[in-house]
Structures are given as C-alpha cells and as structure tokens.
C-alpha cells in the first residue's frame, strides 16, 4: 500500500514536472532580444542559455553597448523602432522611459514566486517611478570610501570621518613628483559621471534641485559644492579631468592613488588580484560626513513596443525573472561578480561573508544609512544632468571659470525644459 502510494506520488510528481516544463516551454515563442551594457553577470547568463530555453521554449540575445552609447541608443531605439523585448535601463532614465511609455510596469509580468521583494530596498527604490517598479536590478549600491591601508598607516593618517579631514589627508598624501596622487575624481561629462559625484557634495551642503516647482540649484550650496569639487581636483590623478568610472578605478586599482569615494561595486574589482594591484591593501568605510552617497541601480525592464501583447510581455517578464533570480545571483557570487549582487538573501548569506569578509559587508550595511537618491527624479533629468555635466567639465578643465554663470545658464535651461512639458 505504502509502496503504491509512493509510486503514485512519484508518478504525480513527474507528471507535474513534465507539465510544468511543457507549460513553461510555451512561455516564449521567439528569441528574447535585449539591449544592454556589458556586465560580467550578463556574460555569465549567456553560458546558461540552454537552461532558459528549457524553461521558456526560446533563447535570448544580447546587444551590448557601453554605458553612454547604451543610453543614447536605447532612447533613440525605444522612441522609434522599439524592437528590443528587454531594455537595460538605469536610475537616471527610468522616469523618461516610464513617462514615455517605452517600458511597462514590471510586476504585472514578473512571476510572483521570483521574489521581487528580496531585492535590496535602495535598489527597489531607484527602480521605481511614481511608486511603480519598472526594472529588476542587475547592479546597484551606494558609495564607499576606499583607502589604501598601507599608505595611510605609513603617513600616520586614520581614515577621514569628515570632509575637512578628507581634504587634509589628500593634501598630505598627494605626491605627483613620485607619480602618486591623493585621489581620483570623475571629471568627464555626464549625469552619471562628473555630476554623479558632484551631487554628493551638493546634497551634503543642503542643495535642492527644485523648491516649490521652481529651479533652485544656482544656490549657495551649489556654488560651495562646485568650489569644493574643483578644489579637490588639485589632488586628482592625471587623466581623470575628462575621465569617469573607468579612468578613476584604473588609477586606483593600479596603485597610483591613496583614496577614492566611489560606488560600492568597485570593491569586487579591487579585491580581485587579476584586476587590481592593490588587492588586500584596501580598507572600506563610509564616505566622510556630510557627503550623501548616491544610491543607484541598473536593471532589466520590459519593452512596450516589441512586446505588443500580454503573452510577449509575460515572456520578457519570465526572462527578467530568470536573469535576476536568486540562483543566478548565487552563481555570480561563486564567480566573484560582486557588483551584480542585489538580493538581500544573497548579501546576508554565509557564502557572501565567507567570500568578502566582514569589513566590506559592514561598510555596505553602514553606508546604506548615508545613501539617498541625489538626482532629480524626472523624465528631463538626463537632459538637465548632461547639460550640467558639460558645464562642470568646462569648469574642471579651466575652459570657463564662472561657477555662478554656469549655474545661471543651467537654471535658464531648466526653465526652458519645464516650460515645454
């Protein structure tokens, strides 16, 4: 009797699995096309193509472009042909994509058992617009202060806790004659480049983008933030005046820089001896006060045009759920793709602590309380942010010197942007 029940259960279980597979195999009828920027986690997904095909009945295909080109192409493409089923978007353009209806609300098509709630709260916040979630995170985080433990110890400096201490330490550690620099800052144009770093100072000094619906950023806070940022450039490594993430992280990881304040995913690269000559020599802590870390997130969203009906949207949703699943995050952890881990269940796991130690985990937990959404959450943000990026780059490289004039120009531009909406 018992044996028969066992057999019945086994047959039922197998039938359910087969049925589930048949049902899943019908989710997608054609290849899922994704416009993305290169990430190790996405490359890793490509080696599990068969797994997705088995689950959904179709394969997927990535078209990669670097960050700036991906932003430009996805905007032009989504507004015109819209042939991609899935877009890789980020915190800076989620408002534009959502308001223009180029993407659809994610959770309507994201399977409930894929546990969207498991993602880090900060990442869910930047993935939403007007309280509606639009993308599932692939990467994200806040800011950390990365410092060379050996260099600071030799100079008798403790990790700076305030901005004044930070600046004093940079002055002491900066030694261009020996090819060693205090810091590396992002000087290159862009809402996600120089403006991203500048905003942490702007917010620290009490700056606000808008007050009562009117632009308010040509304020004393903005002037002070700009003056401070420009002053710190005297300690920044060569090449960073027009550089961004790549130049800054290369300078630090090559051992030419004492301290940087950068986004948290860098920790994974810094501790990887294949990518960094300073692995094991770096300390991690929260950025000096009163800096407000820039919360950010990039992820996958369902395209509206290419997925004209519910069936196509469910397929795109199934792909996103699979691509951002706990199982795939665990694979990333195993491969050391630190920057692309977003689920709290993975971040708080023993495997994570074992791999990256307590210091990084503590710094990540601690920095969350000093992290905020620093940019203006609006469809016009990329336009306004990029315009300020150009003016800021001009100020950093000395092709213009009038800070107030630059901010006035930006305010006039903001008024034009608002007037046309």
């Amino acid at each position: 009797m018992l044996r028969m029940s066992y057999c019945t259960a086994l047959v039922s279980g197998v039938s359910l699995l087969v049925f589930a597979n048949v049902a899943n195999a019908q989710i997608c009828t054609s290849t899922v096309r994704v416009l993305a920027q290169p990430r190790d986690s996405l490359t890793l997904l490509e080696s599990y193509k068969d797994e997705f095909k088995k689950l959904s009945g179709a394969s997927f295909e990535f078209d990669y472009l670097n960050e700036n080109d991906r932003r430009a192409k996805s905007r032009a493409e989504a507004a015109t042909t819209g042939k991609y089923n899935v877009y890789y978007i980020d915190e800076a353009n989620v408002a534009l994509f959502a308001e223009s209806k180029w993407i659809v609300p994610l959770l309507e098509y994201y399977p409930a058992d894929a546990s969207y709630d498991d993602f880090d709260a900060g990442r869910k916040k930047v993935a939403s617009y007007n309280g509606v979630a639009y993308f599932a995170p692939i990467q994200g985080g806040g800011d950390l202060l990365y410092y060379r433990k050996d260099v600071l110890e030799k100079a008798g400096i403790t990790p700076p806790k305030t901005l004044d201490e930070y600046e004093a330490a940079l002055a002491k550690l900066n030694d261009p004659a020996k090819g060693f620099y205090g810091t590396a800052l992002r000087g290159g144009r862009g809402s996600g480049a120089n403006v991203w770093r500048w905003m942490t100072y702007f917010k620290a000094f009490g700056g606000q983008w808008f007050v009562d619906g009117k632009p308010a950023f040509n304020s004393d806070a903005a002037v002070k933030a700009t003056e401070t940022y420009l002053r710190l450039f005297q300690y920044s490594a060569p090449g960073t005046q027009t550089g961004s993430w790549t130049e800054v992280t290369e300078a630090f990881n090559s051992g030419n820089v004492a301290m940087i304040i950068e986004s948290s995913p860098l920790a994974g690269q810094t501790e990887d001896p294949k990518q960094s000559s300073v692995a094991g020599k770096v300390g991690y802590t929260v950025p000096p006060r009163p800096l407000v870390g820039g919360g950010y997130g990039h992820g996958l969203a369902i395209g509206a045009k290419a997925n004209a009906d519910d069936a196509a949207r469910k397929c795109a949703g199934a792909f996103i759920a699979w691509a951002t699943s706990k199982q795939n995050e665990e694979r990333r952890l195993e491969r050391g793709i630190f920057g692309d881990i977003n689920r709290t269940s993975v971040i708080n796991s023993d495997a994570f602590k074992q791999k990256y130690g307590a210091e990084i985990g503590n710094a990540l937990n601690e920095t969350a309380q000093y992290t905020d959404v620093n940019f203006w959450v609006n469809a016009d943000w990329p336009d306004l942010g990029d315009r300020w990026g150009i003016i800021l780059e001009e100020l950093i490289t000395g092709t213009r010197t009038d800070i107030k004039g630059g901010l006035d120009e930006l305010e006039a531009y903001a008024n034009k942007l608002i007037a046309r909406r």
Binding site: A72, R75, A76, A79, A177, T242, T397, T399
Partner: protein, 289 residues
C-alpha cells in the same frame, strides 16, 4: 544617317532615379524635421518653422562648434597635405625604388585601420598614467601631460591621429605621382644648379597642381566626417574644446536631449554651408587653373 537610340536613357534613367531617391529623400526628410519641434521623448510634434534655426544662433555651443569645425578643417587639410608632399619628396629624393615600395606599404597601413580602432590605440598612447607618449615626457619634465584633457592640446592631439592616418596615405599617392612625371624638366633644372627644394617647388609641385587639388577636396570631405575619431578620443571635451558641428548635432539628437529637430536644423545648415563652400572653391580653382 544617324539613327536615334533610346539605349543611353535605358541605362541612365534607373540609376539616376535611385541616386535621386537616395539623395533627396533623406535631405527632404531632414529639412522637414528641422522645421518641427520633434523630440524623442514626446510622441507628438508640430511645425515651428524657423524657430530652431533662430535658436541656434543664440546657442553658444553651436557658435563654438562652427569655430571648432573650421579650425579642424583648416588644420587637418593643411597638415595632411604638407606632411604628404614633404614625405613624398623626401622619399623620391633619398630612397631606392625598392625601399620606396616597402615604405609605401608601411604608410598605407594606418589608413586601413578602422578609425575607431586607431582612436582607441592613440587614446591609450596619450594616457597620462600608462601612455607610451607620456613616458619620455615624464622622464624629461618629471610630470605627465594630459594631452586630451588640456584645452590647448586636445584638438591638436586628435588632429595628429587624423594626419597620421591620411598624411602617410597621401604621401604614397604623391610619391607615385612624382614617379610618373617626365624626368627632363627636373634634369634641366639640376643642370642649371637648382637646389632640390627649388626643383620641387618650382617644377614638381606645379606639374602636380591638378591632382593635388583633387587630394585637397578629398581630404576636405573626409575631414568633415571625423566624428568617430573625436567621439572616441575626447567626446568633444575638455568642455566643448573639440566639439565639432556633427558632434554637437549628435549630442543634441541622441546623447543629451533627444531633440532631433534641433539636431536636424544643424545638419541642414551644415549641408548648406558645405554645398556653398565647395561650389565657390570649385569655381575658384577652375578659374585659377
């Protein structure tokens, strides 16, 4: 008696129709968009007629882009031709025919590299921390020079790459042209004790005036399309120090703002300026010849 035939029309009309479609459809579309207020993030648009063109002349970045484009055009065309002629004469005077052939192959390689690849290679060479070019600079001065971030050197550094690609290639063409010239005028001048530079300045170059002018026109057109080189190396920076008209149009249309009508109005103005400039120059050259 001459028989009329329709054969020329049969062969000419279809390609002419295709050419007309290829040339006029995008042009008319660009003019049409330039007269509207189309933006990528707005589904609807309306005709604003010349408002975009009026706005352009109050836009400091547009005025700057005209200036940068003019400098880029003059510098790269002049430098390419000067480098090409000097190198060709040097090889013609000093190298054996076998050596010339070998050097010609080497000189053609840079232009065969895709522009984007060439731009990346040189961008890395200019890198102040790891770049090859900065190695001797650091040895001599103790500090690197950030060539691509300094307003004074950024445009010149990008121009070096353009001249490296096209100047060497043109030098091979000029060398081959020199080899085709009859030797008698050169021999006569040398018998009259003319110096080498005098032989080429008064005899060689004037004899090559027509093909050299063609090369100037080819390079002028090519220099107008330097977008990829500048985009990879400086993205128009530092600030707007290397932002040419095509860079700014692309930036407004696709990178920063999605204002495709505004970008189209720039493209239309560029097209008009190019047509007028090339027509005037062409007529002037024909008159001069």
């Amino acid at each position: 008696m001459k028989r009329k035939t329709t054969l020329p029309a049969v062969f000419l009309i279809p390609p002419l129709i295709i050419l007309a479609i290829l040339a006029f459809v995008p042009t008319i579309a660009a003019v049409n968009i330039a007269l509207q207020n189309r933006e990528l993030s707005f589904p609807n648009s309306s005709y604003v007629w010349f408002a975009n063109f009026i706005d352009l002349f109050g836009d400091r970045r547009f005025v700057n882009a005209i200036w940068i484009s003019l400098i880029w055009e003059v510098v790269t065309v002049t430098a390419t031709l000067v480098v090409a002629v000097l190198l060709a004469i040097f090889l013609f005077e000093t190298a054996s025919p076998r050596m010339r052939s070998l050097v010609s192959i080497l000189f053609i390689i840079p232009v065969m590299l895709p522009r984007v690849s060439a731009a990346f290679v040189w961008k890395f060479m200019f890198n102040p921390l790891f770049g090859l070019i900065n190695y001797p600079v650091k040895l001599l001065t103790g500090a690197p020079i950030d060539f691509l971030s300094l307003p004074a050197t950024a445009l010149a550094s990008v121009a070096v790459v353009d001249v490296w690609q096209w100047g060497l290639f043109f030098s091979v063409i000029v060398l081959k042209l020199l080899e085709t010239l009859p030797p008698q005028p050169f021999e006569a001048a040398r018998l009259d004790n003319a110096k080498t530079w005098e032989v080429h300045f008064y005899i060689g170059i004037p004899m090559l005036a027509a093909p050299l002018i063609s090369l100037v026109f080819v390079k002028m057109v090519e220099s107008l399309r330097a977008f990829d080189l500048i985009y990879v190396m400086t993205r128009g920076g530092p600030g707007i120090a290397t932002e040419t008209l095509d860079m700014y149009a692309f930036s407004q249309g696709f990178v920063e703002a999605g204002k495709i009508s505004y970008a189209s109005s720039m493209a239309v103005l560029m097209m008009l300026a190019t047509i007028i400039t090339f027509t005037v120059l062409w007529k002037w050259v024909r008159k001069w010849q």
